[in-house]
């Protein structure tokens, strides 16, 4: 197919990768091919467990003691990697092929300085002197936009922020000017505004050094920003491949359609359409069905066709390099679902009213300096003067990056912490000062919570039945064993899980199932408000959609108020009626969902929106990037909390005076010194490419 003379950096030909365990051989990747042209940027997407990281590790020839390439071959710059001696392999690693990892903190050695760790790449591969290595390392750190590189060289990894750690890892990878750079979910552990700057950096470095990139991610939006071509993986196989535009706009494979249908896109909310989760779950590597591995979950599955024999990647007509692994490629005409399910309307009845609420933690300073200065008390201002309210049956989202105080707020509401100042009125009662131990049963019952991490949310020692039943017994919904059992069954029906799950232990459930049980547990006592703290952020997108739909349904059924805490603006836009944007313990902007996502924006909201990855090549975003780091909540800056990073910083007034809450109208408020008139003049963040052109 490919024209001769093409310069391929990497050619993977039909490799099979297996792990060997007690249970036998596990074919993680049965058959995988990929060719990367020099200078190209290729994105590999797929959900967890689809084998994308395994492929990256196979390229590095690093599969651990129990993994190995069982067939096929990998050629790097024309040379078969299987035939290389350990010494040759070592010379390639870190110089010709280098890698950037998901967790920068754990990828760096905690007990060596950054300088030591960067320099050794040059010393080992190019044999340069220590001084030269140091100079070149500092230069590289400058290239990755590291502030104060000389100083960073002497620091230990734990002394710099997560974003900076990732810059160090990138600098280390780029130092020898590799011909291939593997990036394995490099921004997944980072906050969205930091992610945006790291992504910019990757794009910028690629242009500067003309490096070939293999970018692995589960996030379609990031692939659009970084890559030219994209491959979609499912259960160890490539199911569709092509240029970004081909795959995103001329989608052919049912799994790829499925992915697009289950992610919320900015601008679309629950009133406009429902998300379409992909039914079922990925089959385990040693239990793959014959024929198409996506078959059991595919809406276009045809028995007798799709489940016999291996299916090859076939070229899609009219595409340059567009291929899909589907037999019915020419028959399927995908129509995106426009189904709208009824969602909770909500009423004028105020359930929660937060007025001037503050939560400070007192920190005793034990350093010598503080003893001499006599100033040994400091305050972490986790929440300061929060004001907002929530109506019955509505969904209010609290948005912000890590450290903004949203989790503290959940703790205060549920009574795990008590407030320092102000009040929290819940159904008319001031509950801010009542810790959970002193709350009466009705109050506790009325206010329940769903947590982020599906693996931590259920006690591994107890069965599903015990877990839901305990809530029912505790709140006196049912008294006798029979009634409780019945009610547990009902709740399982509500979250659409089979009743037989009662006896299961959490380790027998998938992440999505665990999260459904958590929803059942939260709603089992008929609460009037449920706090959902990042309930879907640890889930794969196809499962995420199902849990979001479930939350909507259950909310409607019980007319519950939902307080949805999240950092994911696309999800927030989809699910919420009202949005509260927080930064460093304070509310920056609050209002209805549509208003928050349109001008006038608070400068911080504007930066957040600009950073959201959008899985659509036709949408262009205005580029606003935040400098520096979020200051510490310990003795935070006076004046505007956002002043130190604000791209629209006015002057001293921002640092010295606390900005007013400016009313925009219709319940929309912006805390900023810039007049509303001025803020209203900005363009919307999002534009389609046609409009921009």
């Amino acid at each position: 197919m490919a024209a001769t003379g093409d310069d391929y950096v990497l050619e993977i030909e039909n490799i099979g990768i297996s792990y060997f365990t007690r249970v036998g051989e596990i074919p993680a990747v049965p058959d995988f091919s990929l060719r990367l042209k020099r200078g190209e940027s290729y994105g590999l997407v797929g959900e967890s467990g689809c084998g994308k990281t395994t492929v990256a590790m196979a390229i590095m020839n690093y599969l651990g003691g129990n993994g190995g390439i069982v067939r096929g071959r990998i050629r790097f710059e024309g040379r078969d990697m299987a035939g290389m001696s350990p010494e040759e392999l070592r010379n390639i690693r870190g110089s010709k092929i280098s890698m950037v990892y998901q967790e920068p903190m754990s990828a760096l050695n905690p007990s060596l300085t950054i300088g030591t760790q960067i320099k050794e790449v040059l010393v080992v591969h190019e044999g340069v002197s220590d001084g030269e290595a140091r100079d070149r390392s500092i230069e590289m750190l400058r290239d990755v936009n590291m502030p104060d590189p000389e100083k960073v060289m002497t620091r230990y990894p734990h002394q710099i922020s997560g974003g900076q750690q990732q810059r160090v890892v990138i600098a280390m990878a780029m130092l020898s000017n590799p011909s291939l750079l593997l990036l394995d979910e490099p921004t997944t552990a980072l906050d969205v505004t930091v992610e945006a700057t790291v992504i910019d950096l990757i794009v910028q470095l690629r242009e500067k050094f003309n490096t070939t990139l293999l970018y692995i991610s589960h996030n379609l939006g990031l692939i659009v920003k970084v890559c030219d071509r994209v491959g979609v993986m499912y259960s160890g196989s490539m199911v569709e491949e092509g240029t970004i535009r081909e795959v995103f706009k001329e989608t052919r494979h049912p799994y790829t359609f499925g992915l697009f249908d289950c992610i919320p896109t900015l601008g679309v909310d629950k009133h406009a359409r429902t998300l379409q989760p992909i039914p079922g779950q990925v089959s385990l590597p040693h239990e793959r069905p014959p024929g198409c591995s996506f078959g059991p979950r595919c809406g276009y599955f045809r028995s007798g066709t799709c489940d016999t024999g291996d299916i090859a990647l076939e070229a899609v007509e009219g595409g340059s390099s567009h291929q899909a692994r589907c037999l019915r490629i020419d028959e399927i005409e995908h129509v995106p679902s426009t189904a709208v399910s009824e969602v909770a309307g909500g009423g004028a009845d105020t359930v929660l009213d937060i007025a001037g609420m503050s939560k400070f933690y007192e920190i005793a300073d034990v350093s010598l300096a503080s003893i001499f200065s006599g100033q040994s008390r400091h305050y972490v201002k986790a929440n300061e003067k929060l004001n907002f309210n929530a109506q019955r049956g509505r969904t209010v989202a609290i948005v912000g990056e890590s450290g903004c105080g949203k989790s503290t707020f959940a703790k205060v509401l549920t009574g795990l912490e008590t407030i320092t100042d102000g009040e929290i009125r819940f159904e008319g009662r001031d509950i801010g000062a009542i810790p959970v131990q002193k709350r009466d049963q009705d109050l506790i019952r009325a206010l329940q919570m769903v947590f982020q991490n599906p693996d931590g949310t259920l006690n591994p020692s107890h069965s599903v039945g015990h877990c839901i039943g305990r809530v029912i017994r505790k709140f006196g919904i049912e008294k006798d064993a029979r009634g409780i059992r019945e009610r547990v069954g009902d709740m399982l029906d509500v979250v659409r899980l089979p009743r037989a799950f009662t006896t299961r232990k959490p380790r027998q459930l998938s992440g999505g199932q665990k999260q459904r049980i958590a929803v059942a547990r939260a709603f089992a006592g008929n609460p009037s408000m449920v706090i959902a703290d990042e309930p879907v952020s640890a889930l794969d997108v196809s499962v995420q959609a199902a849990v979001i739909n479930l939350l909507n349904d259950v909310q409607k059924r019980y007319n519950t108020t939902l307080l949805f805490i999240s950092h994911d603006l696309s999800v927030v836009r989809f699910i919420s009626d009202e949005v509260v944007v927080m930064y460093l313990g304070q509310i920056m902007e609050a209002g209805s969902s549509e208003k928050i996502f349109m001008p006038p924006y608070h400068p911080y909201t504007e930066a957040l929106l600009s950073a959201v990855p959008i899985p659509d090549p036709d949408i262009v975003q205005k580029r606003i990037r935040l400098e520096g780091e979020m200051p510490s909540a310990l003795d935070p800056p006076t004046g505007c909390r956002f002043a130190s990073r604000c791209p629209r910083y006015l002057g001293r007034i921002c640092e010295e005076e606390e900005p007013p809450d400016q009313d925009v109208g219709g319940g929309h408020a912006i805390k900023c010194h810039i007049p509303i008139g001025e803020l209203s003049k900005v363009e919307p963040i999002f534009n389609t490419r046609d409009n921009a052109a």
């Binding site: 690093y62 690693r93 990892y101 990828a107 050695n109 280390m172 010598l368």
Partner: protein
């Protein structure tokens, strides 16, 4: 840092105070014993009564503890040296000096004349054992932890388990049977008084061997465990995928981190060896600190037990302090708190 050490020193003094109070109250709860032990079994009730009065043993526990501390710190005289008592006790250092631990009933000498020499003997024994145990367990622990599940790892693992499972009195028995009874290579006792026909070194071999066998497996397994855990860390993957030679990955990246956790364990072997040698010393009649302590305890020699426990606790807390400071030094994550 200075504050941290100051705090720890304060804690150390508090610990020594508390333990000395506890030991003192346990041992001297029934003060009558002291009088009868001092005079021996043939003394009359009247003689005991006089001594009891003279030594003011009917005072409350608190008063007696304060007196003990003031004798120890050289503030007051030790009443047992009063010539009026006609006990014939004599301390060449006088009856009032700092560090006066009193008179040992068991050895019929001032405590200071016995204890330090015995402690010295034990330190020689423990020192040799420590000098063998540490490098040996480091080397084996690291080699086997480097490749978890390898043949070396497995054999070391089971050897370690077996060795730590054999109590010192049992391994001493086995060694005696092999090297003394069957082979006749070594002496069966190590009294360290005359070196004929067995040399000093030959007398040391078996006691040291017993300690090494018992302790080596434990320390080596600790080191191995830490090394295994470090080898699974992503930063080791980073180092390998950077293209570093394997030697450098181990020596520069793994070792430093792998030694952080066992560091404290290794240091704790010092107090363990110094006080834990009781059994070994008893088996080989080695004139050490542990054997002395046991003999004193069985005899009811309170002055000696109090002195010896205070010293033992001092050694333990001192090692802990050194351990904590050293830990901060080798672990950059907690260096500047």
């Amino acid at each position: 840092m200075a504050l941290f050490i100051a705090k720890r020193l304060l804690m150390m003094i508090a610990t020594m105070f508390v333990t000395s109070v506890l030991v003192f109250s346990l041992l001297e709860f029934t003060p009558g014993n002291v009088a009868s032990k001092t005079l021996g079994p043939y003394a009359t009730a009247a003689q005991k009564e006089i001594l009891y009065k003279k030594l003011q043993l009917d005072d409350s526990l608190v008063v007696r503890y304060v007196r003990w501390v003031s004798v120890l710190s050289g503030i007051s005289r030790d009443p047992v040296y009063d010539p009026d008592l006609k006990l014939g006790y004599k301390d060449p250092r006088g009856d009032q000096y700092f560090g006066n631990f009193g008179w040992s009933l068991k050895y019929r000498l001032p405590v200071n004349d016995v204890m330090w020499r015995r402690l010295g003997n034990t330190m020689i024994l423990a020192g040799i054992a420590f000098a063998i145990i540490v490098p040996l367990s480091l080397v084996f622990g690291i080699l086997s932890g480097m490749r978890e599940g390898s043949a070396l790892d497995r054999s070391l693992s089971y050897t370690g388990i077996t060795l730590t499972s054999i109590p010192e009195f049992a391994s001493a028995t086995f060694l005696l049977v092999i090297f003394v009874l069957m082979l006749g290579w070594l002496p069966g006792t190590s009294h360290m008084q005359s070196f004929e026909p067995w040399s000093w070194a030959s007398q040391m071999v078996l006691p040291v061997l017993v300690l090494v066998l018992y302790d080596f497996g434990y320390v080596a397994r600790m080191v191995r465990g830490s090394m295994v855990e470090v080898m699974t860390r992503p930063y080791i993957r980073t180092a390998i995928l950077k293209g570093l030679p394997y030697r450098q990955v181990i020596l520069k990246h793994a070792l430093r981190n792998a030694l952080i956790a066992p560091f404290t364990v290794i240091l704790l072997q010092i107090p363990f060896l110094i006080t834990g040698v009781v059994v070994t010393e008893t088996v080989f009649s080695y004139p050490g600190f542990g054997k002395m302590l046991l003999e004193a305890a069985l005899f009811g020699d309170t002055a000696m037990i109090e002195a010896a426990t205070l010293i033992a606790v001092f050694i333990a807390v001192m090692t802990q302090l050194i351990g904590d400071v050293g830990y901060m030094y080798i672990n950059p994550r907690i260096r500047f708190i």
